[in-house]
Amino acid sequence: MSHSELASIFNKNEKKVDWHDKALWFVRHKRDLSVHEVKGWEALRNLGHGIKAHTLSNLDNYLIEFEANAIKNDIQVHWAADGDEHNRIVHNIIKESNGKKVVKSKSMLTEECHLNPFLEAHGIEVIDTDLGERIVQLAKEKPSHIVLPAIHKNKHEVDKLFQEHLGTKPCDGDPQYLTGEARKHLRQKFIQADVAITGVNFAIANTGGFVVCTNEGNADMGAQLAPVHIACMGVEKIIPKQEHLGVFLRLLARSATGQPITTYSSHFKKPRKGEKMHIVIVDNGRTEQLSRPDFRTSLHCIRCGACMNTCPIYRRSGGHSYDATIPGPIGSILSPGKDLKKYSSLPFASTLCGSCSDVCPVKIDIHSQLYKWRQIITKETPQPFVKAQTMKIMGQMFSKPSQFERVGKAVRWSLRNLPKSVINSKLNTWGKARDLPEGPKQSFDQWYEERKNNQKD
């Protein structure tokens, strides 16, 4: 289904859409307050952009350096060309350690590779330990936001889910009580886990270590208890030096939620005594995206979610309408690189207002890339008949001013005189869920002429 079709499903519940819209705008607002406190914020964004651009231009060498240092630190390094290989590697590590129970902290990469269903099919229990992710896991859904996975659910839905799966008491959706119950439930899982899987926010080439950021403490509760820790990362997570963390950790949480830093920024370098640590480095389409000059900066993304919180389309259509692991503006420039046909409607799910590019901490020109994808998609994928024909006619009309004036007159008359049923007919998508304004008597040209003449008098 296209983005607009899926969005119309989300739009059925108007109250929920309003709440979703306001809640995310509130997060965007917190981001603003937080970044305005930082002296030199724009310089910091430029640094974030520059460090990422440099890293991508030397990515092979940084990965080799990272691998060598990680091995020195007693970490085992694995490489996966695609999602399938990633899943097989992870499964093999779990098998070798006779693992049955896995706890996992937030990792969009493992979502992208569909790791959970793969492991479950092999009889392994996988528990997502981020509260939002646990909620969507219990609901058998996907995260709808990369930082706020359950933003599409209200507290009463969570209440019901927890009653059903965790045996909680009805509580009218009390977040304090529900979080407390989830804490008890997850503690049990942490204690029993054989293997902990985490994502990676930054991997540092010159130390061979990596950093994982959470607010809940779930990454460490998993990794510091289980005898095996597997960290999964895309190739683009590398930064050259430890000092660069100073830039990215200042940018990340402020852009994400307005916090000055996440509660936990954990730096893993060597396994603890008796523990085994693995890193899986994954391509899955990233090297291809790197080959596209117009789109390669999309690999700068540090997954803060700011472009989603600010996007007028995302806020009103919900993350699931993008039907992709990474939704929102950044998802709309990443996904077409993976499957142009399947995701051909995503670059059109934008007003091109540019707000995403304004808030992006690593200065990805998201809205220009959306525009560039549109050019490619219109050329390479068949357009709906009505749209293709209208565009053709419009093109001809705009090229001849006299014709434009004549058509304009007819439209203004029609808007004033035709019945609504005709104006808002099926062919006119602008008439969906909104009334068109009454047509003015004059065109702008006429008004301007008249004004000029009046001034002369």
Binding site: A23, F26, V27, K39, G40, N46, L47, G50, I51, A53, H54, L56, S57, N58, L59, D60, I64, W79, A81, L131, L148, P149, K153, K155, V158, P175, Q176, L178, T179, R183, L186, R187, N215, E216, G217, D220, M221, Q224, P240, E243, H244, L245, G246, V247, L249, T257, Q259, P260, I261, T263, Y264, S265, S266, H267, K269, K270, D283, E288, S291, R296
Partner: protein
Amino acid sequence: MNSRDQILAKLKTNKPKLIDLPLIETSIFRDEGLDIIKEFIKKVEVVGGNVLEVTSNQDVINKIESTFTNQEVCYSHIKGTQGFNTISLETIQNPHDLENLDVLILESTLGVAENGSVWLSDQEIPVRVLPFITKHLAVVISKKDLVEYMHEAYSRLSGFNYGVFLAGPSKTADIEQSLVIGAQGALSITIFLKQ
């Protein structure tokens, strides 16, 4: 070719021409009038922690005992406070045995004013899971060990095997965006500032 070599070969072909690595000029971020201690206290409170000023390690213990009364399982890793401990780490076989820890006291030698975080590494945490599994966390830090920004913090860090910048108690807003303190990690954090 195995996947490693394949990925590296593709990156080599597909990457753009080498772009220079920008230098981090930390002077552009410096706010000259900043009072580091005041800013640190303010930010600890912003991230949900408490700050108390103390004169000695014994003072820390006294203040904790009056705030957290009747706690069963307690452990302190700061000097001269063994009397506070109800467990001995030597007898702990497995990090899981720390599940019921009520109060933990650690020392940090690096705090960051701009975000209220304290650095805890293997040198300060005898068992890595400690600051996460405890119900209440207390961290003692000297005022002289506070720096302004993350850039200064990283210039001081080297040679650790594991470490965490920890800012405030664990928290979540995953249920309808209502902030709840106490997710999977510590329920509270108190920073004790020493001269």
